[in-house]
Amino acid sequence: MATAPQTDNMKQDTSATGCRVPYRVFTDRQYYEREQENIFKGECWSFVGLEAEVPQAGDFKSTFVGETPVILTRDTDGGVHVVVNRCAHRGALVCREMRGNRASLECVYHQWAYDLKGNLIGVPFRRGLKGQGGMPGDFDMSQHNLRQLRTETVGGLVFASFSETVESCRDFLGPIVVGQIERIMCKPITVLGDQRQRIHGNWKLYAENTRDPYHASLLHLFHNTFGLYRSTQTGKALMDSSKRHSLLYSIAASNDDAADKQAYGDSRTFDTEFKLQDMSLLKGRQEFDDNITLVILAVYPNLVLQQIQNTLAVRQTVTYGPDDFELVWTHFGYQDDDEEMQAIRLKQANLIGPAGLISMEDGEAVEIVQNAIVGEERATSYIAMGGGRAEDADHLVTEGAIIGFWDNYREMVGFDLEPA
């Protein structure tokens, strides 16, 4: 690569403390391909769905690990399984529906059939027809199953891994993540519906976004205006011991108008004049004894489990390419929700998702970065708020968890791939 002469103001100061991420990791296809191998098909557990999405024997859901199509199934013994959605014969999609119920999985192309665990159970004309054709004598059905992934569930969340060597899912998640999953998944849930959002940017920009409490009160102005969440709230940013996952939470009881005015002054992010005509949008119930009203649990590599007021949801990242991903929001409540609670959750759903009054900006935040870094080979971001290290914080003015993500990424993918 030729180095162009630089003037002083084009040079980046790399001496100060902080994390610098080369922008090409968001744009270069080589990184994307390495991520598919080393992260999504590597030593990781990826989120694939909720057990509640496949409650009955024969239920299935088509989804993805990274970009690889997979099927989540429930077998007749009650177990859940994840298999690659690709026929062992000539590679066709076995499940072409988003979800459904079937006794077995059958490829439409040549009707090769698999049981709900992914084992091959039928090959038409295997012994030929009227003495003609048929599979070779040494054809062994048991060697042609769907690719079966390791599958584990934690609190009703289903995770899958391509790796035979990765630690158990619980160990991969660590006690902070498992504890938070079990806190939210404390009783049987019921799925309320899905929302899907296409974001024209790199999936890692969203991984940063969900580990970033610094932006919350500055980008999402609905929060500030209505006192749902403020940087002056009591909050914490914690990581697991590997620092790949992140837990951000805050407690609403600490809202303090005077402190807010001091912190924000007259900046655009704080507008006390703004009043809702219909306050029923914010009507909710305290559901947890710990007074925590906001949890953003970002689980490496592709999951966010969230509680925002009374909205409960998982957000799954599906990658399409270096500058394209889908975010699948699956909202849920508890099976024992009374009618009023169901109504509260459906109304508060206005707050989150692609049309969410407090979350719609995140798609734009990803895209304005992607649009600005196009073609950039050398420059890096600079991440240092809160001290510039992957450290926990008992406040929300930090980017420590973003650095934790990048430390793990650097280990699994590296920052210094040579252009192909």
Binding site: M98, V191, L192, G193, D194, Q195, R196, Q197, R198, I199, H200, L219, L221, F222, T225, D271, F274, L276, Q277, D278, S280, L281, E326, H331, L346, K347, A349, N350, G353, P354, A355, L357, M360, E361, G363, E364, E367
Partner: protein, 162 residues
Amino acid sequence: MALPSLEQMQVQHVAAQLNALHAELIDDDRLEEWPDLFEEKCRYSVISAENHNRSLNLAAVFCDSRGMLVDRIVSLRRANIFPAHAYRHILGPTRVVSSNEQIISAQTNYVVLMTRNDGQTSIYNSGKYIDKIDFSGGAPRFVSKTAIFDTHLIDTMMVRPI
């Protein structure tokens, strides 16, 4: 099919005109006037066919008062951050499903085209409206409007009403 009576044609005209005005106010960015097309006590929801067809009620946008519609618009103007864009609604014919002296039930196919700052226009959302319209008073107004959209993959965000 029997020829429509004059009254049936009037009812059909009312429903189609109200839908056309609904589209026009949104497309022309006259969003502050948009809530006035609804009754004070109303329901407006924008829900994916993916959810609707499974009898799941989770909507992208769900408002059950005119005040909530106003709040959506004020939030769009004052709080939300999103890529600059314009909508263009293309409406199919409105079919009156049933009517009595007060309420018209009607449905209308729609496509919303989106044009962003880069000048490209794309199909942003396609679906159908299922409406209940009260035309007993002076101006006809929506008692309920449900946009059931096929385009369940929402491009970046949804801030403007459908």
